[in-house]
Each structure stands twice: as C-alpha cells, then as structure tokens.
Assembly symmetry: C3
Homo-oligomer: 157 residues x 3
Amino acid sequence: METLVRPTMCQHTTLRVPTVCPTEFYDLTTHLEALVADAGIRTGLINVQSLHTTTAIVVNENEPLLHADFASLLDRTAPTDAAYRHDDPSVRTVNLTADERINGHAHCRALVLPSSACLNIVDGRLRLGRWQRVFLVELDGPREREISIMLMGEGGQ
Amino acid sequence: METLVRPTMCQHTTLRVPTVCPTEFYDLTTHLEALVADAGIRTGLINVQSLHTTTAIVVNENEPLLHADFASLLDRTAPTDAAYRHDDPSVRTVNLTADERINGHAHCRALVLPSSACLNIVDGRLRLGRWQRVFLVELDGPREREISIMLMGEGGQ
Amino acid sequence: METLVRPTMCQHTTLRVPTVCPTEFYDLTTHLEALVADAGIRTGLINVQSLHTTTAIVVNENEPLLHADFASLLDRTAPTDAAYRHDDPSVRTVNLTADERINGHAHCRALVLPSSACLNIVDGRLRLGRWQRVFLVELDGPREREISIMLMGEGGQ
C-alpha cells in the first residue's frame, strides 16, 4: 500500500464569545465549520480549547430543554449555595484579585467537564454526528470568553 | 540539536459498533491497535471520536465488576427514572423525530464523560499503560454506533 | 491566500511523577512549558496522556483551597467508604494481582475526569489562559506515575 503524503499545515485562531447568562450553552459549531472550510485542510484535527477555568467545551445536542436538564445536573453536582473553601475570605490567601468572584461552584462544575475538544476533519469538513454540536459551556457568566482553536492537517483537493 | 523530519501523514477510518445493552463498555483497544499497526505511523496521535450524543469514549480498566460500579455511579448521577425536560412531550418542540427515545438520562450521563479520546502513538504502537483500555460507552443502547478515528503522525521505521 | 508550509515534526517524551497523597493535584505546567520551549515547535499540539486508570489530567486553577473543594466533590461522587464490586474478593475474578489495592472509588472518580488533555502550542509557547494550569490528578496515591507527552507541529522562527 502506498500512501500519498501532502504537506501538513497548522493554523491557529482565537475566538471571542460574549456569554449572557450565569450558566449557558453557547453553540460554536457554525463558526468552527467556517474555520475548517477556510483553512483548506482536507484531513486532520481541530482542537478547541477554552482559556478559562470556569468554562468547558462539550459535544452534545442543541435542544434547549436538554440544556435545562444539564443545568440541573450541574447544580446537583456542585450547588451554587453550598460552601466552598475557594470562596472563604477568612482562609484564602492564594490568587486573590480585586474583583474576586464567588465561583467555587463554577470551578467544581468545570472539573467534571472537559476543558477542550479534539475533533476530526474529514473530506474538508468538521466530522460530527447527526445530533452533535460543539458548545462553550459558561459556568460563571455573563463574561467575555476566549477560545483558542488549532487546525492541523493535510491540504489539497 | 537537529531533528530529523519525516513527512507527516493523516489517515481516517470509520468504525461501526453494535452494542447490545442499555449501558455497555465496549472495548475498542484491539481494533485501535490494529489500525495503528496498519497505518505505518511511528510517532503521532490517534483521535477516537464518537459520533453520538448518548455515548462516550473513556480510558479505564477492563474489569466487568468495575463496569458494574461505573454503571451504578452513572445511575446515581442521572437516574433512569428521574424526570427530564428533554423527555417531556408537553413542552418539547425542538429536534423531535418520529422515533423519539426517552433518553434525557443518557444525554446527562454523556455530559459528564468525554466524547472523544486523543491518544499517543509511540514506536509504531498505541501508547497505553498496563491496565488502560479504550471503551465506547453506550448509554442508550442497544444501538449501532459509529466512531470516527483519525491517525496523524510520522511514518518510517 | 497562500499558506507557508513548514515541515511538521513529532516528539515524544515520558514524564515520571511521584505523588505523596491519596488525592493530589500535581501541577505539570512548568515542566510542559519547558518541553514546548525545547521542542522548537512554533505552532501545533501537545497531548498529555496519563498512563494510569486511577489518575486524571485536568486543566484548572492552582489554588490549594479549591483543590480541597475538588477533593470533597470527588468524595461525594464516589465515596472512599462505599462498597465497590471491583473491591469484593468474594466475586472478583479478573485482573487480580498479588498487591491488589482497594481502589474502586479511585477508578470511579477517574471515570468522570479526562485521562488526557490536548492543548495548543502558539508562537512557540503552551497556550493557556491567565488562571489555567495543567494537573495530574492522583486518585489512589501515593504512587509513582507515568505520563506520555506528544508534541506535534511546525518548527521555525
């Protein structure tokens, strides 16, 4: 078997997303599909990496009631009104800022979700199943968020 | 330091897996190892991406009683018999199909598990630790499932 | 638009980490940054893969009280003192070793955390947000742990 080898290329871009709710599922898919089309990569990978510690990148269905179910699950996992040592000014000494947020619950929710997604590019398109969409999950919004996106693969027709 | 650069190649394949249980840990490892061997890639990455929203790809041990423990954990996380808005026909309007499944619990379980795994290829072999195996996790079976697999890296001896 | 294509290179290294606690967040970031700097890769990916089934690789903040919150969450998710079939010698027959550990809880915690992290390399540096650090999460320590790290991308200035 012979394998035709085309040059591999890498392209990076940064995406800024303004979220509007405390918990939000922001659909990145259309934007990612456009990036893949523009990159001219036929076969390869796209790595979608959030640059924050109270967000996540997940792949699931874009159905609003399901997102309400997801929000309920996250709230059971790490309730907003529970006590977090991260939020206790009487003991905390590390990484304190002037505008410190009460967000221990958001960090805990981020812990059990992926912070990035590596997805395949096939035939010049982002490979996703019928119901799959890629989301930035906001866990401590509203905020302006930043996502680092790397595309790597073979170009050509 | 000089680095010898060999051409990088990308290869994609799709794997179909028939699951037989509602919750199942289907071991993909032997198949993935064969794909790596056939690809002729010496150093690189393999990205194993499920194309579904009620499955996951996880790396853990292949021990049947452990998988029963995993199933119990997933059932505590998102119980089968809880109420999910995704499954409520009195309010749901989006993405409805003729053969709609009652599977809010399965989506919720998928949320807290990875939908893909990016693993290293070293010395021409899938790099895994002693007890590591790669599983498709079925959360709403039995179904025929599809997995997209990208291999990328340097060939040669 | 023309894209300048430089040769892509792949480099692999193994990192050994001695953990000292049953549950521990071991910060790998400084080491990973040094690996990226040494590799001479300007644009690409670094895939950080734990080789164990009772560890995880997560990206979050390095704040000790937050790690105590994380440990509490993991203990609620899969309590240390709950009953796990994986730990029941009266029924277990598979993968038994002479020095078998009581660690069903650790496997269950690993299930809901990522076992690897694929991160971007931009302008010759590991791309991380202001508060992001990369951790090996020890779930059944203290142990000596092994991490497989692949760097892939374009070199040059």
